[in-house]
Symmetry: C2
Subunit: 402 residues, 2 copies
């Protein structure tokens, strides 16, 4: 057995990831992912699946079914669309951002009869519009609305949207990719039927697995629908059959990603769900104090804003691509570009999960303070970092990691 | 921020994984997966994608397109079916095992017009049967045949099957989940249009990502088909658009799994592809010498057998479930059960990737030698391990790791 040794071990640059996702992964999560694996039909792994399901129940705040789809958040999105409606079924998609439009694209490919409700990007959705639409589409089977729209940085009233959908006999499905473990989300209390998330945002794990929660009503629907979902891989009832107590073999589960998800869920529960939501709020508020000191405007009104993601209007002399390149090259920080209607007009700064700590807030403000003058715009030095620090003090934050 | 510290870091039992997959992961792969992540749109990550694609080209032996589907091998399977045929299209599926039947299940859900060719489980497929079937189904758009059938442990003549399919103007798609990096596979030379694999077998990475290769002809087909694939997540043309030089954003890529895949590909190329195929052959031959000394029969004839996976007939006094439990409980070794027609009648021992080394061969033989007498069957002690050692010596193997 000759050894060629062409390839050295992988090394990658170190980044501070402050984009819209993925965010940085917690080191304890990464360590769990480097554990030797066991088989996906091993009794010890079945035991782990049940524990992870229970931990996710605590994070989604549900007593129904939590598990994970073996793919990115978009796999969780497609799993819901393919499982919770049949081709030809009427499906209302409330659209106020890029990821709502992705839902529409997927739903159309699946042959669903899509009724889009398009409202202004950057404003929280008004549930009254859904009510009015449902009145003229009473045969709607499923309604979709995104909780945290990552393209625009808005939070949306999914509790009200779920209520209205149920009043008309529809199931309600939502996207909590960016909100889970970062904003208040109550799956049972808000009567959601299906919510899909991602591992790579406020849960602080790497991307590649989609934690989901499903109501018993949704599962009953899948078991009784006339045709089988066109996707075997993303059929939520088969995935649940594997995760739940009978552990019926489906595809080979992503063992290491589930180790990582377990660790991320453990760390979330160790911190406390409410405390974690608060952490996202406090850091967002410090960032925004700093941005204000830099004379940067936020296009989203205070009431509609997400804590995890801050969208910033670019001053007219600042080119989007150049700004992000400078931030990456000079500071090794990743921030996000604008998407769709917002392309070229904004940047997006995410403070999620492991990325959501004061050192990162101070560092990105410092970076902006140094880079903005490179575009010929004058700024008083030190104001931004000081403003953020003052905001932390006001919130009683002295020590950042415990 | 209160700390509850309910959950300690994850710990899992240590196993010797000798089932049909996953196999154990190489420690250098696990280490790569614990590296801090970068974003999936980071220029450094794009560079990595291009390198991994090139390395996979060397492993598939292709100059066309290699990349990875973000899911298990079954996601790679479904990606091929949803991308390479349209609902109503005639698709021939050659079926001689459990995973062929999974292809049929998926294809029917997708609304394809499936013509199954079912032949005896445990025998390599005879290409003449495909030729005869194609003569009466000349409007077939796609033919499927599995290279290494993991349920039965057979290797199949996909080179001939691809040739016949092309003679009738069909595309040819194959499953190389268990064969890639463990048996000879020549994507270009054999004129395959699409092959999907898994990370968790002979590549020695954890499960969760599906390396695939695609011909330019297959990509042209997808770009020109009348309807879009019903799956957005598994549309191979969109996934390729992200991996290839334009790096058009699709779903968030599973960064850590791609780190692991890179490392697994690097280690495969460091060892040498031919040398790796040989390693699988030599270890299989030692295992089989030992099994013979234990008076255990193999249902698959020598010419039809895979090296990576050995199917063993259970003597009539040995209960399948009890045997596997004892092996797991007394030795912490996982072996596989029989599936479909083989359920309850066989066990399957995999020697793949990182699991395919002599210490594991000697250890499972030792385990069987000690456990079989627990079922009241007499065995002479030490014969099996000695027979395997002799076989290694015959093959000139003295030192096992370099």
């Amino acid at each position: 057995m000759s050894k060629k040794n062409i390839y050295e071990p992988l090394d990658m640059p170190r980044r501070v990831i402050l984009g819209p996702g993925p965010s940085s992964a917690n080191p304890r999560v990464l360590r769990a992912m480097s554990l030797p694996i066991v088989g996906y039909l091993d009794p010890a792994f079945f035991d782990l699946l049940e524990k992870v399901s229970g931990m996710l129940n605590e994070i989604f705040l549900t007593n129904q079914m939590s598990f994970a789809v073996a793919g990115s958040g978009s796999a969780g999105m497609e799993a819901g669309l393919v499982s919770l409606a049949e081709p030809g079924d009427k499906v209302i998609i409330c659209s106020y951002g890029y990821f709502c439009e992705r839902q529409i694209i997927m739903a159309k490919r699946l042959g669903l009869n899509v009724i889009p409700i398009r409202t202004e990007w950057g404003k929280s959705f008004d549930p009254q519009v859904l009510l009015d639409t449902l009145k003229s589409h009473t045969d709607t089977k499923l309604v979709l609305g995104i909780h945290a729209e990552t393209s625009t940085g808005t939070i949306n009233p999914i509790k009200e949207m779920a209520k209205i959908s149920h009043d008309f006999g529809s199931l309600f499905m939502t996207d909590v990719v960016t909100s889970l473990a970062g904003s208040e989300l109550q799956f049972d209390e808000w009567e959601i039927d299906y919510a899909y998330s991602g591992s790579q945002k406020c849960l602080a794990a790497p991307p590649g697995i989609s934690p989901v929660a499903m109501s018993t009503k949704a599962l009953e629907y899948i078991r009784n629908r006339k045709t089988l979902p066109s996707s075997w891989y993303l059929d939520l009832s088969l995935i649940w059959d594997y995760w739940s107590e009978n552990h019926i073999a489906h595809h080979t589960a992503p063992v290491s990603m589930i180790y990582g998800l377990r660790e991320a869920a453990a760390l979330t529960l160790n911190e406390g769900l409410f405390e974690r939501w608060e952490r996202h709020k406090v850091n967002a508020s410090a960032l925004r104090a700093g941005l204000k000191a830099l004379n940067l405007d936020l296009p989203i009104s205070k009431s509609d804003r997400l804590d995890q993601l801050t969208v910033i209007n670019l001053p007219k002399d600042i080119d989007d691509v150049k700004l992000r390149s400078k931030i990456l090259e000079q500071y090794s920080i990743e921030v996000g570009r604008g998407l769709g209607d917002f392309a070229g007009k904004v940047i997006r700064i995410g403070l999620m999960g492991e990325s959501c700590y004061p050192p990162n807030v101070l560092y990105i403000l410092q970076a902006l303070e140094n880079i903005i003058p490179q575009f010929g715009i004058e700024i008083s030095e030190g104001n931004a970092v000081n403003a953020a620090s003052d905001e932390y003090s006001k919130n009683g934050i002295k020590k950042f990691y415990e």
